[in-house]
């Protein structure tokens, strides 16, 4: 019988082979909405090193993603907007030269992740053409307009947050807490989802992330 449910975040990360030193980890959320905080805490407790973290923001305060970064486990951050109010931890690491930053336009970040999940190795976009963020990248003209080639992002692990889930891994989301979570679920070798509630079966008409994209789910409550 298929049952992707784990009893705790710690149990879900404990024997996950893709969670290892040097791994690339996608982390869902936008600001504080839709961030898989329990899974982040559980990963932090694994004490890994040399991680690449891909997330829209770089955490704020001293909890969640900021706390993970403060532990020194990440060598590299791929991100569109690391400078939100209260993102003190990341700024200190960056200014001390202790973390590398790849800054990516938000739509390019989303499309690189979507492409990774869809088996598309690269794509062309007009976003960023002629700007510092396109330096060194291949460009091409289509129908008189210039485009930049961007590579897909594939990760070892995705940590995502959802509203409800079932034993098959089908997921629904809450309002704008959806953000990066559905596309990140598609782009990792192992996807771990924390959900507020598990149900017997998510109504197939309202499934946003089909269970094929999800490997492990943990109920964490509100």
């Amino acid at each position: 019988m298929i049952d992707k449910r784990y009893t705790s975040a710690a149990a879900a990360v404990a024997d996950c082979e893709d969670l290892r030193d040097g791994a690339v980890i996608l982390i869902g959320g936008f600001g504080d909405a839709g961030v898989p905080e329990r899974l982040i805490d559980a990963v932090r407790e694994r004490g890994l090193s040399d991680l690449t973290i891909v997330s829209n923001n770089a955490g704020s305060g001293d909890y969640g993603l900021a706390r993970l970064l403060a532990s020194g486990c990440a060598a590299r951050m791929v991100c569109s907007f690391p400078r939100s109010s209260g993102s003190v931890v990341f700024e200190e690491l960056y200014e001390a030269g202790r973390i590398e930053l790849e800054i990516v336009p938000q739509g390019t970040l989303a499309e690189r992740i979507r492409a990774g999940g869809a088996g598309v190795p690269a794509f062309y976009t007009a976003t960023g053409y002629g700007t510092p963020l396109a330096e060194g990248k291949e460009t091409r003209e289509f129908d008189g307009r210039h485009y930049v080639m961007e590579r897909a992002i594939r990760a070892d692990v995705a940590l995502i947050h959802a509203a409800t889930g079932d034993r098959f891994g089908n997921l629904t989301y809450a309002k704008t807490a959806r953000n990066f979570n559905p596309i990140m679920a598609m782009a990792a070798r192992t996807t771990l989802a924390e959900v507020r509630t598990t149900v017997d079966m998510v109504d197939p008409e309202v499934v946003v992330t089909p269970g094929i994209f999800v490997d492990r789910i943990v109920e964490v409550g509100a």
């Binding site: 504080d32 938000q106 739509g107």
Partner: protein, 224 residues
């Protein structure tokens, strides 16, 4: 000289130009004020790039929902007809040319339509968010400037941007506290000028040549 336009005056002027039924993305900060001045009888659908169409005003303090925020991470509401979607869909709306108007702020706008609005350099980590997607993908790109001239006295309207670019040849129109200026193949074309401000005075505060449209309108600050 009469009073310069306030941020509310500029927002009111911008809102007059947004057509009924338009899908509009408002940048964080001053562009958000456009939502407060939608003319009676007109309906705009506000897009928030974190995954929301039909963005409504901020909720009452006791009705804040941490799952419902805007691109500035502030609590908002959703209006009837709205929808939630993930990031790839949200940016397909922007990059696929489905957003009718993107209204944003800028450090510099050049006479060729180039815009710089994401980086001033320095030691802080750079942050771009959705700015490059919006200027490259929206059908129309309008810039709102709370002041035509920066604090250091330099005009924000320049011949060529000196700051890191956000996008090339993409700005269609500028709304400042002194004027409304279209950008066409020949550069800056003034369509509205602050009442009481001379053409030469505006030109002196602008870093590139200006042309004045026939029947150039007068802008007046409202007492609010």
């Amino acid at each position: 000289m009469t009073a310069r336009l306030s941020a509310a005056d500029i927002a009111r002027r911008v809102a007059q130009d947004v057509p009924d039924g338009a899908y509009v993305n408002l940048g964080i900060g001053m562009p958000m004020k456009v939502a407060d001045h939608i003319p009676p009888g007109r309906e705009f659908v506000l897009h928030s790039e974190n995954g929301l169409l039909g963005m409504g005003p901020a909720p009452a303090p006791d009705a804040v929902d941490p799952d419902l925020t805007n691109a500035g991470k502030q609590p908002v509401t959703i209006v009837p007809g709205g929808a939630y979607f993930h990031q790839a869909d949200s940016f397909a709306m922007i990059r696929g040319g489905h957003i009718d108007v993107s209204i944003l702020g800028a450090y510099q706008v050049a006479a060729n339509g180039d815009i710089a609005n994401w980086s001033l350099g320095g030691s802080k980590p750079p942050a771009v968010g959705g700015a490059m997607d919006l200027v490259a993908g929206a059908r129309r790109v309008w810039v709102m400037l709370s002041s035509h001239v920066a604090k250091d006295g330099a005009s924000k309207l320049v011949e060529r941007c000196s700051l890191p670019l956000t996008g090339l040849a993409c700005v269609d129109r500028i709304y400042s506290d002194l004027a409304v200026i279209e950008i066409d193949a020949d550069g800056f074309l003034v369509t509205d000028i602050l009442d009481g401000l001379g053409e030469n005075e505006l030109a002196a505060q602008t870093g590139a040549p200006l042309r004045f449209a026939p029947g150039c309108r007068r802008l007046r600050a409202e007492l609010t």
